[in-house]
Amino acid sequence: MSHYCELSNLTKIYPTPKGPAVIVKDFNLKIKRGEFVALIGHSGCGKSTVLSMLAGLNDISGGGIILAGKELAGAGPDRGVVFQSPCLLPWMTAMENVMLGVDQVFYTASREERRQIAEYYLTVVGLGDAMHKKPAELSQGMKQRVGIARAFALKPRMLLLDEPFGTLDTLTRFELQQVLVDLWNRNHITALQVTHDVDEALFLADRIVMMTNGPEAEVGDILEVPFARPRDRKAVMEHPRYYECREHLTTFLEVHAHRRHNTPTEAPCSLSLRERVRVRGNQALLIVSRKPIPGTVEPWRSSRRDSAPAS
């Protein structure tokens, strides 16, 4: 088997009354076993859509995904996901949150062994003292540590990280990147991380895939990261090629910042729909028209936000 995870001609189309909105088009990517790939692009370009299709949380409109020799259908515990907001169950302690998945996946193991697994991962992410606290008592960074422990504890085939550090401040982000790298160094789980942080991608990934802007987002460019593992942040930043790689990525992002499309192309609407959904990236706006005129071409009622210049 040459590639562990293969995304071929992956396409995501959302139907809208104005015609289909193609968010991701013919996205091709092959990931080797044990490889850490970062997916970088501007917000709304469709990187999270690709990740959520891989997670099985979003239907695939075209193409397919093969993981470990099997085509994916739906979500499953063989892919551990770390979301941008930690998504913990608020009435459960950190330990119980991790145990929730562990109990399912390791149901044949003894209760003690399952507890050991959860305890191990919570301690490794630095929550040795706080594992019996509820999410409300934890800071944002600590919640995200629980999220990381929860994903790793399932021993997934693949790790999917959806901008896990996007909402954290610089220093907490550095700490959590370190936590992630330390855990990942123990057993190289194949990973795909979505991010818009150039430095984060360079520190974590073996390969950085740059995505063009949506709609019809696809792979724009790929950068092999030349730094040896295990990596140390200071050493990486001192590496002679660090700023060269960084410039490569910032240039790509800057070029694509100016080729931004905000809304799907206008298409005439002739259906007598009362409700219309406008989709941009992962945001949807539901518009209920007051007077539907059946069979007529009605100019799309745009909110005033779109008539002003993009910010």
């Binding site: 501007h42 936000r305 910010s311």
Partner: protein
């Protein structure tokens, strides 16, 4: 005597037993026309520091002077741009800015006030949206209104409290360019709080890092001598940029560390393979044993307290 001067400013919250010192002996002097960025992580006391300068809170000890006058309360000589925009939702862009201008320059003629407001709306490129309410604007546009309002008050000093932190990366970089352009036009004294070292380097003349944790103090100033306008791509090749960046990141990383305590914990990790949940669980035949690849791994891990 510099333009803005903070001398031994300390501030803490809470009373005797549960008192936390937030700022401790903060000294800072800023010259007229200087753009200073204070970089620190969350919880370091950045917002406390800017609130002290704004006069929204009084320091416990020490003094702050602006133009040799002590700051004791908020005033129109200092204007703030908050992270959460703080616009009045029932007023349009124009009315929000007019309100501020009307308070600061009550003696101006209506025509002059109106013209002043229009100039500032145009400066942040919001003329097409002048009659819209904040609810109809995107986050980036709201923050532009906030910047325009702050500048329309013609303050002696402009305080920016993490103005771009709530925005997505692309909008953030566009607004950074805008702030840079506006600053070059009118050369106001600016104090900006940020948690992003790159944002600081891109915009400021001087960076003052704030140490992490309770009792925060300011680190040594880092001068940024890169000529403006700065180009984000070209910065990657600039040795001054690299040096400044390294210095800030090292300061932040070092200020956080050193409170690790050597507590260790013995842990066991059973080497069990996860079950395939797509197969139905056996109902009869009792418990199956899990697939074990190896022995239980034992490890001792140091814990941070």
């Amino acid at each position: 005597m510099s333009f803005l001067e903070l001398k031994n400013v300390s501030k803490g919250y809470g009373s005797n037993g549960s008192r936390t010192e937030v700022l401790k002996d903060v000294n800072l002097s800023i010259e007229k026309g200087e753009f200073v960025a204070i970089v620190g992580c969350s919880g370091a006391g950045k917002t406390t520091l800017i609130s002290v300068i704004a006069g929204l809170i009084r320091p416990d000890t020490g003094a702050i002077t602006l133009n040799d006058l002590e700051i004791t309360e908020p005033g129109t000589d200092r204007s703030i741009v908050f992270q959460n925009y703080s616009l009045l939702p029932w007023l349009s862009v124009y009315e929000n800015i007019y309100l501020a201008v009307d308070r600061v320059f009550p003696n101006w003629s209506p025509a002059k006030k109106q013209q002043h407001v229009e100039t500032h709306i145009a400066m942040v490129n919001l003329t097409p949206a002048r009659d819209q309410r904040p609810g109809q604007l995107s986050g980036g546009m709201r923050q532009r209104v906030s910047v325009a309002r702050a500048l329309a008050m013609d303050p002696q000093i402009l305080l920016l409290d993490e103005p771009l932190s709530a925005l997505d990366a692309l909008t953030r970089s566009t607004l950074q360019e805008e702030v840079s352009r506006i600053w070059q036009q009118n050369q106001k004294t600016v104090v900006m709080i940020t948690n992003d070292p790159d944002e600081g380097i891109y915009l400021a003349d001087r960076i003052v890092p704030l140490s992490a944790g309770a009792g925060a103090t300011l680190g040594p100033s880092i001068q940024i001598d890169i000529p403006r306008p700065r180009d984000r791509k070209a910065l990657n090749r600039d040795s001054r940029y690299k040096a400044a960046r390294r210095e800030i990141i090292e300061f932040l990383l070092n200020s956080k560390g050193d409170h690790h305590t050597a507590v260790t914990k013995k842990l066991a990790l059973p080497d069990i393979e996860p079950e395939d949940l797509t197969h139905p669980r056996p109902l009869i035949g009792g418990r199956r044993a899990p697939v074990r690849r190896g022995e239980i791994k034992r490890e001792t891990i140091g814990m941070d307290l």
